[in-house]
Subunit: 511 residues, 2 copies
């Protein structure tokens, strides 16, 4: 057997891989064993000789032989290296079955249908800067304090706490969260109803899979939160978008005649993306509707900690004892996103079944992080941090609203500014196209999601009244806001000018 | 207030729950507070008196009062326990707003069908001690070193790293993992194919949902890993159990005539639970089969780092370029379970689509933990820890095997001891019933899963040849093993004696 020829032929076929030499030799010999060129029982040439023949370092050859031995293709005896019996037999049988397997790549199988359904909203949330929504003022987070708490938690751990943790989360954290929610959000719960998750996306996933079956219907706000849409579609649910107006999700008589939902997803404290606050009247009506339909409401209270004007509305969950509500919260906004800790509060009757389900499927551990967070809550540091952030965000909001009114008041109005970390800028001039403007802004380095990109109604949506931009402000220093709004306003005014110019757009060069 | 009457009425309404007494009393009092029967400011009767009145142990009453205090429904003062103001206010207000909501509980809606499918294997993995499988020697983990690395990682973070992280995981960790897998497992990959997950359960979830649709078929080893079964059923897949023999999963001609699988789940390095090592011949045949059927193999390589005898077999993923394999690994066994970091290696063509899907749905963050782990790998500490654990586990295995042979050699044989952290003790006497023996052992405080409890074939399984116990040994000090095996052997021999005694069991008192 001419090894040099063998290797040369193989290299020609596989040059595109750019493999290191040892890998190339290993692959080459393996292919030769598989296709029978090197038959069972064949003694491979000695490593030193092959190295000389191929002009390779001996270690390169040794490495390739060792790999083959690891994989069972060759065996070593005192005199050297021999092609194994089993491997060659299989190779002979196998190569018939799969053809030229050396070159047969994985059939480029797309994702499953349900995974393809996960639409990604442009402008990912992992960006920072103006006006990415949902990102808190990370530079104001008390890192040094957090590190100390974390280190203290780690020091207190025994070996048993390195093991799989409680299926619902650390009891200390669940109690701290229950206490916080009762006191600040009017949630009626005890620690046994609280489940720790990796964040809102995990909570949504869990709700969709634990409380609805493939093909069940879920109602979601339209426009609405893309992450929820992704979770529901991924879980095989039939998604129905319900229009949102200035008072939140607006059920009509029409919706009652359709299929009963298993789940109803809402963001009542500060609607995502338009910022409406769901009125008490509608909250109670929604609870009544859910009871009548045997549905569960998913109350995503993500922005509730930041209420800028007026008294806070307490959570829907607490409006009635045993309300049919799955209450979702997260520390991604109040602490920081990379923490990956959120929670889910379920009605008492569902806590047992959910715990049983999670025993098999949950991500159970991260004890130190949970204990440090419990400590952060108990010590009052969390409340202190929240107060500081509320003050800061309110300040930033005030500056942003004033600036938007000054520079864009004529063709847009501010909506949903009373709470949260973002507001909606709604165009009052219908000829403006928010998606086009959002794309232009992205070119300028300004992230401003188009409200129309958050449609959830499916393939034939009615023209939404929500034509405008979603502007996150929590992370933007007040002194930068006016400058950013001027840049944003320039793009919007340009688009408005173009729209007014008899339907045809002027080329940018002339302006 | 007649507490006896109150409790009797409540028990009548809730008899079907089968709650323990303390829970029943707790629920009863809570309901009474919520519906106003026990108004704000009401002083509860003293625990001793109530215990006497209801003929309960005083501890039962104390427990119920403590739970109520935890939940904020009552407060303690020097003289005893009083119904809290806030709790009752909410209850009163709430009941006006929504009608007679005090009694309208959430309709006791069971979990969704797919969630009910998640069967839990008795003897949860969060236990420690003999012979819980899958738990490493946590007391040998270098905690102080890990704390230092973690703290160093935290100190190096800027505010931007508190934000949502990379959808596939931290690049540094993905590179470190790819390097480790190439060198020690023969996996053909680069960092772009590696995705960080929260552990094997997350990886399985992701595979089931990204690469199969509701109703698709998955092949799984029988007996097999309950966590995988749960993930697949939870994702709506049609599960088909394929028998396992001493050489791993054993496909027959019969299986080729059935529905083509979308996924094939195997644990080739050390089959869970019986410990077989999949032969090279079968590995190649399985790859050929997957290619022919357009299926993806999920190779769960969970126990591969601990090979006690003979040369390691390299991963299936590396047996052929672009093998149709999703390779799963975890740090739960090599580091510690509470870490919650695992990984998934996908074929090159699938990395892009999966990243796009994860952009919306992944748990993205935990940067410090990932960087600390990358550091642990790069610095060589991981390899060092692995070497130490390999030596330790091998020692423990040797002691266990010797002890089992001495005390149970006559009626059982050891299987699957060449790798991993557990072995299978297979009963050679067919009259022994592993499930009964496992239950008896549990009463004795010894966790030894019955092999028959890991059946995956569905509702009409053939009588499995795997009748025996799964014994994890990684966390048991060598000097304790013989004593534990003696206790275990006593139970097994007793069962064998009973089985031989003409089919009827002697009452324990006579033995």
């Amino acid at each position: 057997l001419d090894y040099a020829l063998l290797v040369a032929a193989f290299m020609q076929d596989h040059a595109q891989h750019g493999w290191p030499r040892q890998r190339m030799l290993h692959e080459c010999l393996r292919a030769a064993i598989r296709n029978g060129t090197l038959a069972a029982g064949t003694r491979l040439v000695a490593t030193r000789a092959l190295a000389a023949e191929l002009d390779l370092a001996r270690n390169t050859v040794l490495y390739a032989y060792e790999q083959l031995a690891c994989e069972g293709f060759v065996v070593s005896d005192r005199r050297g290296t021999v092609v194994a019996g089993a491997a060659a037999d299989v190779a002979a049988g196998g190569s018939d079955a799969v053809g030229d397997s050396g070159t047969a790549a994985v059939p480029v199988r797309a994702l499953a249908r349900r995974a393809r359904n996960l639409r990604v909203v442009p402008g990912p949330a992992d960006m920072m800067g103006a006006f990415v929504p949902g990102v808190p003022a990370l530079d104001m987070f008390p890192m040094a304090l957090w590190r100390r708490l974390l280190d203290r938690a780690w020091r207190g751990l025994g070996p048993a706490q390195l093991n799989y943790g409680d299926q619902a989360g650390e009891p200390a954290l669940r109690q701290a969260i229950a206490g916080h929610l009762r006191a600040s959000r009017g949630v009626l719960c005890d620690a046994s109803q609280v489940f720790i998750t990796d964040g809102t996306q995990s909570s949504l996933d869990l709700c969709a899979r634990a409380f609805a079956d493939n093909g069940d219907t879920v109602w979601i706000e339209d426009p609405g939160y893309a992450g929820a849409l992704a979770a529901f579609r991924g879980a095989g649910l039939r998604v129905e978008g319900i229009p949102v107006d200035g008072q939140g999700i607006a059920l009509t008589a029409q919706h009652s005649r359709r299929r009963k939902p298993a789940l109803i997803y809402v963001t009542p404290s500060h609607q995502y993306p338009v910022g409406s606050v769901l009125t008490l009247e509608r909250r109670l009506a929604l609870i009544a509707r859910a009871r009548a339909d045997g549905a569960l409401i998913i109350e995503d209270d993500y922005d509730s900690e930041f209420r800028h004007d007026g008294p806070p509305l307490s959570a829907m969950q607490g409006l009635a004892p045993d309300a049919p509500v799955l209450y979702l919260g997260t520390f991604s906004k109040t602490m920081f996103p990379a923490l990956r800790i959120g929670f889910l509060v379920v009605p008492t009757g569902l806590a047992g079944p959910l715990a049983a389900m999670r025993a098999q499927s949950a991500s159970r551990g991260r004890v130190a992080e949970q204990l440090a967070l419990a400590d952060f809550l108990h010590s009052g540091q969390f409340a202190l941090h929240l107060r500081r952030m509320r003050r800061l965000y309110r300040q930033r909001r005030d500056v942003l609203v004033a600036s938007l009114q000054e520079h864009l008041g004529a063709i847009a109005e501010v909506h949903g500014e009373s709470a949260g970390m973002h507001l909606a800028l709604r165009f009052t001039d219908d000829r403006l196209r928010d998606a086009e403007i959002s794309a232009r802004l992205m070119e300028e380095g300004i992230v401003a999601h188009a409200l129309s990109a958050h449609g959830t109604a499916g393939s034939r949506p009615a023209r939404s009244k929500w034509n405008g931009l979603m502007l996150g402000y929590a992370q933007i220093p007040a002194e930068l806001i006016d400058g950013l709004v001027r840049r944003l306003a320039a793009v919007v005014h340009l688009a408005a000018y173009a729209a007014r110019s008899a339907g045809h757009r002027l080329p940018p060069a002339r302006l």
